[in-house]
């Protein structure tokens, strides 16, 4: 178990700058998830921590030790790869014992550690099998066992579930979560799947184009996204964005107008923004309420998706071409072709400036 500190970490491959000034503190025993769209640098960041890539600039510490120049084996990290990367010619036992043997561990200790790991991961029955005789989920567990057997200070996961089918993924997700509770070790996990991020993480790091967009607990990220990117990335279906204008600001908040909506009074602090400025409203699909509208007014329903427990209603936007989504309970009374008015819940409306940063809440409200 150890903490990890990233201080102004940079990584460039030739002239392409992949990681830009990343600062991050990962506490002891924390489960941190790096999430972001493909190409955002999340895997590279993990590989920098692992020591598989060299750091171009900045300082990486594990515990209190700067490890920039240390090879992977001296960093005390274990890594689970996306493709498992099990040694095909070795049995499960040999796969898990390989690293220990290379570290010249005493034979009894090797055996003991492998058996303990196998017990934790329920691999005891499979120890004599070769990887090709294992199912996807079993291979995944062996890959974790191999990383765990050396009892590393930090466990790294590089999109470990992306090769599994949907139901197995849910099952393994649960196993990883339970494993973390049981071992209590520091884990860093990379995924592009926000559901994995939300369900596993103590702390999510959202990356975009090599920069950290926001760091926070799943709740923080969902309820108070700091930027439009985070707001759009976390949550499914994605948040609705509507262009809006600032009508006025006062001590308790601000008033905002958007095409097709009645003027909204919001708790955001808009001081520093001038009247009439272009802003963006962000409203999650579950925070929109629909009411019947007159013939010519409101938004037209273009599609209704029935998912059993809930219904997605798609609306033709006034501006732009991204459909608006409302999420409600099933059954629904709405049908294609109807016109509706939107009634957002002001408590749950997000407001983004032209720099895509979220406007902060008024201090009094933020505390409450």
């Amino acid at each position: 178990m150890a903490s990890v500190t990233l201080d102004k970490i940079n990584k460039a491959f030739g002239s392409t700058h992949i990681i830009k000034d990343v600062d991050l503190a990962i506490g002891e025993g924390e489960f941190v998830v790096f999430v972001g769209p493909s190409g955002c640098g999340k895997s590279t960041l993990l590989r920098l921590i692992a020591g598989l890539e060299s750091i171009s600039d900045g300082e990486l510490s594990i515990g209190s030790q700067v490890v920039n120049e240390l090879p992977p084996r001296e960093r005390g990290v274990g890594m689970v790869f996306q493709s498992y990367a099990l040694y095909p010619h070795m049995t499960v036992y040999e796969n898990m014992a390989f690293g220990l043997k290379l570290a010249k561990t005493a034979k009894e200790t090797v055996h003991e550690r492998v058996m303990t790991t196998a017990r934790i991961l329920q691999l005891e029955e499979l120890l004599e099998r070769k990887p090709k005789a294992l199912s996807g989920g079993q291979r995944q567990r062996v890959a974790m066992g191999r990383a765990m057997a050396r009892e590393p200070r930090i466990l790294l996961f590089d999109e470990p579930l992306s090769n599994l089918d949907a139901s197995l993924r849910v099952q393994m997700r649960n196993e990883i979560a339970r494993l973390h509770k049981r071992l209590g070790s520091t884990m860093v996990y990379v995924t592009h799947d926000q559901v994995e991020a939300m369900t596993l993480a103590d702390k999510i790091v959202v990356l975009n184009r090599g920069r950290v967009e926001q760091v926070g607990s799943p709740q923080e990220l969902y309820q108070r996204p700091a930027t439009k990117f985070v707001a759009g990335f976390i949550g499914s279906p994605t948040m609705n964005f509507l262009p809006a204008r600032l009508v006025g600001a006062d001590a308790t908040g601000c008033r905002v107008g958007a095409t097709g909506l009645t003027e909204l009074t919001l708790p955001q602090d808009a001081s520093g923004h001038s009247q009439g400025e272009e802003l963006t409203l962000g409203i999650r699909p579950e925070h929109l309420r629909l009411t019947e509208a007159q013939d010519r007014e409101g938004f037209e329903i273009v599609n209704v998706e029935y998912l059993g427990n809930e219904v997605y209603v798609y609306l033709e936007p006034k501006e732009g071409d991204t459909l608006l989504i409302q999420r409600g309970e099933a059954p629904t009374r709405w049908s294609v072709g109807q016109r509706v008015a939107l009634a957002p819940d002001p408590e749950h409306v997000h407001l983004f400036g032209s720099d895509d940063r979220a406007l902060p809440l008024k201090a009094a409200r933020a505390v409450a």
Binding site: A50, L52, P71, P72, R73, V77, G78, M79, F81, Q82, S83, A85, L86, Y87, P88, H89, F98, G99, L102, A103, R146, A147, R150
Partner: protein, 280 residues
């Protein structure tokens, strides 16, 4: 209807005739060599497909010559050494060329390929000087050196292609487990590269086993000769007699092991040779 069936039949018959022809052309010389090896010298020029008076005398004769046994031993020594050295150097080189990124990697690969394009004769005199300088003349070491020079390019190319196909994550997993490059090569890659190693090793063996020009040039005495040269220099009862039958017996003796080896490894050869072609 009938005419269509007839033409279909004719096409099929033509196909198998062609196959038979190719087989005969390919196999007949070898068959005739075997047949000749069992024929007593007196019957050599009677044309027949089956020896009427089969004899083992030719085999007895060649095996009673100490120099021939010595030549077989030399050939085995040279060919296995070449295979061993070529694979050892080839594997390590292919790791560097296939896995380590460095400036000029493509150039190195192209130079290696270019070297293998030279005909043997072109380098013969130069190589002769090298071998004299290294004091390896009339010594199996000289042959091992020169064969390795000609085998390595092919070995390195095939192994590099194969090495590149092994997943990158496998190597990274080994690195995370604390493996040095040498441990990665020997403990992780080697066990996975048997098909490629069988292929290249066997081809290197065949090349070294059959090589004639260098073997003739770089050896002087009977005791240092390899089999191809020894066969060519087999002498008959008089200066005017070419001992065809013993030559054929000797040829059969040295060819059969190769055929057996190829049959044993044939599946691996195919999978090794096509390994770079398609992802399987």
């Amino acid at each position: 209807m009938t005419s269509r069936r007839l033409s279909k039949l004719a096409a099929r018959a033509g196909f198998w005739l062609l196959v038979a022809l190719i087989v005969v052309i390919a196999v007949f010389p070898f068959y005739y060599a075997i047949k000749t090896s069992f024929t007593p010298s007196g019957d050599l020029f009677r044309v027949e497909l089956w020896p009427t008076r089969a004899t083992l005398a030719n085999y007895v004769q060649i095996f009673s010559q100490r120099s021939f046994l010595q030549a077989i031993f030399n050939s085995i020594l040279v060919a296995t050494s070449v295979v061993f050295i070529a694979l050892l150097l080839g594997i390590t080189a292919s790791y560097a060329l296939g896995r380590v990124r460095f400036r000029g990697r493509t150039t190195v690969l192209l130079v290696i390929l270019g070297v293998s394009m030279f005909p043997q004769v072109a380098v013969l005199s130069g190589l002769f000087e090298v071998i004299r300088a290294l004091n390896l003349y009339n010594n199996p070491g000289g042959l091992i050196l020169s064969y390795t020079i000609f085998t390595l390019p092919f070995t390195v190319w095939v192994l590099t292609t194969f090495m590149r196909q092994l997943p990158m994550e496998l190597e990274e997993a080994a690195i995370m487990d604390g493996a040095t490059p040498w441990v990665t090569i020997t403990k992780v890659f080697l066990p996975l590269m048997w098909p490629a190693m069988a292929t290249t090793g066997l081809l290197a063996f065949i090349a070294a086993w059959n090589e004639f020009l260098f073997a003739l040039t770089f050896t002087l005495t009977d005791s240092q000769r390899t089999v191809p040269v020894a066969i060519a220099l087999l002498s008959g009862g008089s200066a005017y007699e070419l001992p065809w039958a013993p030559i054929m017996a000797a040829s059969v003796v040295v060819t059969v092991p190769l055929v057996v080896l190829v049959i044993i490894f044939q599946r691996r050869i195919v999978s090794g040779l096509t390994a770079g072609a398609v992802k399987g």
